[in-house]
Amino acid sequence: MTGPSSSHWAASAPFDTVVEWDAVTTGDVAAERIAWASVEGADVDTSGEVLSVPAPGGRGTEVRVTLRYDMPAGALGRAAAKYFGDDPSQALDDDLRRFKQVMETGEVVRSERAPWGKRARQQFPQRPARPLSDEELQELEAREEVLA
């Protein structure tokens, strides 16, 4: 946050690019709704909203995320598009699933196929469902992602 209703955002993109923008908070009801929008003239035109409401029947909490963005043309836009993938709503779905895993089980589930847990799948090559080699384990440990 950079003020009572303003914030500065940074999103990492491939090739060590960082996309940054300023935003103003357009709505904030404690623990229920938070919304934001980028300010006039920002590099990235974006707005979003996170709603969390109690599910009917006492079945936990429903979390809804709406994310709108309009990428600039040129290299930055292409890099950002690549980061979000062909299907940005799928990337958001995957993030929400991992969020649910953390909320309900305390961690992100790793399979042999996807041992890198919360990192986006595009950043790693597909691997078969078989135990990791020493080199692969070292690479994960270097990222402090594997339990000792």
Binding site: R59, G60, Q90, D93, D94, R97, K100, Q101, E104, T105, G106, E107, V109, R110, S111, E112, R113, A114, P115, Q126, R127, P128, A129, R130, P131, L132, S133, D134, L137, V146, L147
Partner: protein
């Protein structure tokens, strides 16, 4: 360690692969003493189930001894040295499905849920050694396996029953039992079971335990029908008998009270033209199972009866 790996359609190979290690806090590593090949492994072998990768370790029915546990495994629940049977679905124990004891529907254990959802409508839980559609977990046709959420699934075996007497708890016994349980069997019911393979045999035994007065096995493999007959069940060989007529004959024209489809996806049951129709649809992937036995079960079941489907 050595492991049975999928290398391509209709080709598997025992390969040397790395030993498994703890990756999540509630993992255990199990040294495998017995493992089974499931009928449903055939769907992986022949490429019927998509999303296999060269080098995947197969196997979802296994048991053995716990040799390592992660820091999050409750010592009162599971310890190194315990003898365990590992159920095939990986279940977190915390989500809505798990709290309703619908462990195969766990909402948290399939890291590939997004893709599975597109194909099935809803994702299934993570499953050991069962394609990347069910998460890409290494399987148990190996010397060791990593078992996530080990304080939820594994069944501790404290008796001296042999492996052969308890290994079925990993899949086929609970699968068969569920088939019988889902059709709400009442004392005195007539229960017909399509498919007298291992799951079907367990479904028949479960039906009897739950109160069925008459159990009828439907198959065309002589040794399966003989096994059912030796347990005291009626049998129908569909290769030389019209199943629906035979069932009506056996039930005073009413039809069985409860019908269980324990056939599985790749059955070659029944009338040639229906089978061809199913195969054609299958060939263009317009339908993902071959529902002939199911159709027959629905047509044969008595009015107001229950049809239970567990084919995998």
């Amino acid at each position: 360690m050595k492991a049975n790996c999928w290398v391509g359609p209709n080709e598997v190979e025992v390969q040397d692969v790395p030993d498994p290690t703890i990756l999540n806090s509630r993992d255990a590593v199990v040294k495998i003493t017995s493992t089974a090949i499931c009928g449903s492994d055939l769907h992986l072998l022949d490429g019927y189930v998509p999303m296999m990768e060269k080098g995947d370790v197969l196997g979802h029915e296994f048991m053995g001894e716990v040799v390592e546990v992660g820091p999050g495994v409750d010592g009162l629940r599971l310890r190194v040295g315990d003898r365990v049977v590992v159920p095939f679905p990986i279940a977190c124990g915390a989500c809505l499905a798990c709290r309703a004891e619908l462990y195969s529907c766990c909402e948290n254990t399939n890291p590939n849920a997004g893709v599975a959802e597109k194909l099935f409508g809803h994702p299934v839980a993570g499953i050991f050694g069962y394609s990347h559609l069910t998460g890409g977990f290494a399987g148990g046709q190996a010397e060791y396996a990593r078992v996530p959420f080990a304080n939820v699934g594994p069944i501790r075996i404290e008796s001296d029953l042999s492996d052969e007497h308890v290994l079925f708890l990993s899949d086929i016994l609970p699968t068969g039992y569920m088939g019988a349980e889902m059709c709400d069997i009442q004392e005195g019911d007539v229960v017909a079971v399509w498919g007298a393979g291992p799951v079907g045999q367990f479904a028949m035994d479960s039906a009897r335990v739950l109160g069925a007065a008459t159990v009828i096995a439907i198959d065309d493999v002589p040794y399966r029908l003989e096994m059912a007959a030796s347990q005291g069940y009626r049998t129908i060989d569909y290769s030389d008998t019209d199943v629906r007529s035979a069932l009506l004959e056996l039930t005073g024209g009413r039809g069985p009270d409860k019908c269980i489809d324990a056939v599985g996806m790749e059955a070659t049951h029944g009338a040639a033209h229906v089978h061809l129709y199913d195969r054609l649809k299958q060939a263009v992937r317009s339908e993902s199972d071959r529902p002939h036995a199911l159709r027959q079960a629905i047509l044969s079941c008595r009015s107001g009866g229950i049809v239970s489907v567990i084919g995998t």
